[in-house]
């Protein structure tokens, strides 16, 4: 469960990123976050893995107050979240396998089991058998799928995606959206920010609409 309670984020120069946002996302929900550029979508998403800390208010994940988490505890929070960002953020000097393997290396997973998990994650995103390829040789959509495989390889209960289809053409974007829906059907809580809500509309997600750092609409599924 993700809870935002009167979350405010102010930046130097008194620029308001979030102006007191409150909502609760229950386990297994599919939530689409939308709004214009500068509405506060990325700021809100960055609060969940504690990339950003609120100026005031509380952000809690599964009962844990993330806003007051010690710096040394943040990595352990992130290990339980799947993060997909606008850019795929792959390591271009490593092949697909090593990229997807990285979260498991970080957690010190036994190599043999880790290799099985990587293969399964790549299979899940439709890149089975392409482990040895280098990211630079993949299309934008394929790179984003590698990033998604990396996000799910640790089997997180929450997946957060910040504009995951921003740089993809319509066909690739639909593939990615379908992939997210399949994860949600498997029980993963999804919070996806997007400029293009239509991609997800056929699955009737809950919609949170931000404007100028405020939650202006919360449309139930």
């Amino acid at each position: 469960m993700i809870v935002f309670d009167q979350v405010v984020k102010r930046y130097p120069g008194d620029y308001v990123g979030l102006g007191g946002v409150s909502f609760t996302i229950r386990h297994g929900e599919l939530v689409v976050l939308s709004g214009h550029s500068g509405a506060g979508k990325s700021t809100l998403l960055k609060m969940i893995p504690a990339i950003e800390r609120p100026t005031s208010g509380v952000v809690s994940i599964n009962g844990q107050d993330v806003s007051r988490l010690r710096a040394s505890a943040i990595p352990y929070l992130r290990r339980n979240l799947g993060l997909v960002l606008q850019e795929s953020r792959l390591l271009y000097d490593r092949n697909v396998f090593d990229n997807v393997m990285l979260p498991l290396v970080i957690t010190g997973h036994p190599p043999r089991d880790a290799a099985r998990r990587v293969a399964a994650a790549l299979e899940r995103v439709g890149l089975g058998g392409r482990e040895r390829e280098m990211p630079a040789g993949l299309s934008g959509g394929e790179q984003q799928r590698v990033a998604i495989a990396r996000a799910i390889v640790n089997r997180p209960s929450i997946l957060i995606a910040d504009e995951p289809t921003a740089h993809l053409d319509a066909a690739y974007a639909r593939e990615i959206a379908a992939l997210f829906k399949s994860f949600n059907e498997a029980g993963v809580t999804m919070l996806i920010s997007t400029h293009d809500e239509r991609l997800f509309m056929e699955w009737r997600p809950r919609r949170l609409v931000l404007g100028k750092g405020m939650l202006i609409r919360d449309l139930a599924a």
């Binding site: 893995p49 990339i51 710096a71 040394s72 990595p75 352990y76 929070l77 992130r78 290990r79 993060l83 960002l85 953020r89 792959l90 390591l91 990285l102 979260p103 290396v105 970080i106 957690t107 010190g108 036994p110 190599p111 990396r150």
Partner: protein, 300 residues
Amino acid sequence: MKNWLYLHSHAIGIAVRRLLRQPVGTLLSALVVGIALSLPAAGYLLLDNVASLARGVSGSPELSIFLSNEASRADIAAMDKRLGTDGDVASYVFVSRDEAMRQLERSGLGDVLGGLAANPLPDAFVVTPAAADPALYQSLLARFGEWDKVEHVQLDSAWVERLHALLELGKSSVLLLALLLGIAMVIVTFNTIRLQILTQRHEIDVSRLLGATDPFIRRPFYWFGSLQGLLGGVVALATVWLAVYALAKPVEGLAATYGAVFSLSGPGAQESVALLAFAALLGWCGSELSVRRHLREKLS
């Protein structure tokens, strides 16, 4: 424990890959570190060789009892008897004036001595005291000086003291040199790691996002610095051995011209391991300082 080993082996793998990715840079860094370390290492080795030479010739100071020209065979025999029964004397040898002359000729002064009409050297006893005790030396010096037909008694320790003082000075200089070059090596590693952090920034950011802890991110840099130091240590060791190999024959030849037998010895197993460990430790120190400074900046 298994997990700890796995994480370290992973970090070593990354560090080795980073070293191999820039072979020229790695080689140059190892050469810089190696040459910097070889200077104090060679200095230490030289002092060690000189010290062992000094130990060989100055186990304990000797007293030379020079007899007057009037000393007869009977006087010499009496002195020999007295020395033989003296409890403060460990050993002694009689060096006749003819023997002393031959020794001087062997040392290369034959041409000078050949011009003399008569042998000017006195008969002498060379005495080794029973204990290494400065008070005993002084007591023997006074006692032998009072004997009849003794011209002069000399304690041959001044040059040994001077040699030891020079060795001490040499040790301090080598220590100072090692300290300065050690600091230089730490700075070299500090800078290399800083550049590494800059080039690996993307990987660091991604790893942090995926839940990497600070030790996970720092570990490869520590290993990188230590391995670079170790490579430098290997270069230093090779340089020292090369120098020993190149200088061994000329030094032996030089010693032979003085009628001495001396050969340069290279670093032993213990010294080699100490040098490599010291080099790796300095590399680790440079990494630690760099990582603390630059990864902290990254976090803020």
